[in-house]
Symmetry: C2
Subunit: 193 residues, 2 copies
DNA sequence: AAAAACCCTTGAACCAGATTAAGGGTTCTG
DNA sequence: CAGAACCCTTAATCTGGTTCAAGGGTTTTT
């Protein structure tokens, strides 16, 4: 049941986890199901969970002061769905996390999560590498948002995430890319499919 | 000489470093000076250094396919100046890092940097927390760039980095915020100073 | 002390992308 | 199987921000 998570962690480590470390994981992560449209986290609540997606798909989004939604991230199989700021800082979340499909996650509570860090240095290593990769990706996304046109960002999205293009609605992709759905529709008309 | 770095690391740890860990740092980080306008890293070179800024100021920027510069980050006292992607992935850097003032940094080579990780778990912890904070900040910046107007982004910058406003030229701040210097000038005319 | 290099400003013309509004198709759900 | 809830498209209008071009001030270098 925990195989995908163990595998994912080991892929980022030079030396795979030993049995005690793997047990620490399997003891603390529990499988939980979410139905399509169900919320894993709602803005205002304090996020005390970290969730590894086993199957399905979530979107992470914020609502701005004009009531507009902005999709920050899509989390699919073998990705993490969380509001990192809220999980670590123990503040009410500004983000919403909604299941876009029926989904299954392996979930851990903040307290148990801190136990992992305090007893097994290997998790500092794994989550360091993950956070570094996430930061590098976020930097690149910011560069694209400052230097690419809407059309270039859409073409880049298709090239980068071909498996998401037919899985997530265009309106949600438009929001992720920082443009209106109407404008994305116009782009699609001009640039074949 | 290494005091600011040791202090910075300890501030992010629950338990301060022990003498062996502190020695591991002081043995591996060397002080290096940069003159104003000197480059710490140029795009195309492979970045093999990580630099902790002791005094002075750097900008991290990329040049897009139209030849336009985009400032990604300013690194001042007690901050890090590096291209994380290039340092870890050992690929030629896409980023430039230029001293905006005469500056001093504590610098470590990639090889010695990996020795820290391999011998002292505390550095996985410290850089995990750093990377997580950087990622959280990058996410928030992306949200602002999608939901704020240019004027709101400038007001937010002043509130967030008052110490940088009179230290860095407006043209460089405009690039950091994703707008032209002409437009920032227009904003400043309307919104007092 | 002149030359060179920045740096900020102003204004006119322009444009990428937003807004508003409307219509039609498809897929959920009770 | 009917209504509700999405989802995508099209077109007209509008606007925040860019581009281009020019001028003047201040700092740095020689």
């Amino acid at each position: 049941m925990h195989a995908p998570l163990l595998k994912h962690i080991n892929q980022f480590l030079l030396k795979p986890m030993d049995p005690a470390e793997e047990k620490a994981v399997t003891d603390r992560f529990a499988l939980k199901a979410y139905r399509k449209r169900q919320y894993l986290l709602q803005a205002g609540d304090s996020s005390s969970k970290n969730s590894f997606v086993v199957s399905g798909c979530f979107r992470v989004y914020v609502v701005d002061t004009n009531g507009k939604e902005h999709n920050l991230q899509f989390a699919v199989e073998n990705g993490w769905a969380l509001d990192m700021g809220s999980l670590y800082k123990e503040e009410p979340s500004e983000m919403n996390i909604e299941a876009l499909e029926d989904s299954a996650v392996l979930q851990i509570e903040r307290k148990a999560f801190y136990e992992l860090y305090d007893n097994f240095p290997v998790f500092d290593r794994y989550f360091r590498i993950l956070a570094e990769n996430a930061y590098i990706a976020a930097q690149k996304r910011l560069i694209r948002s400052h230097s690419f046109t809407a059309e270039e960002r859409y073409a880049d999205f298709i090239a980068r995430y071909p498996h998401l293009v037919n899985r997530i609605s265009d309106a949600k992709i438009a929001s992720f890319l920082g443009m209106t759905p109407e404008f994305l529709s116009k782009l699609r008309r001009n640039f074949g499919k």
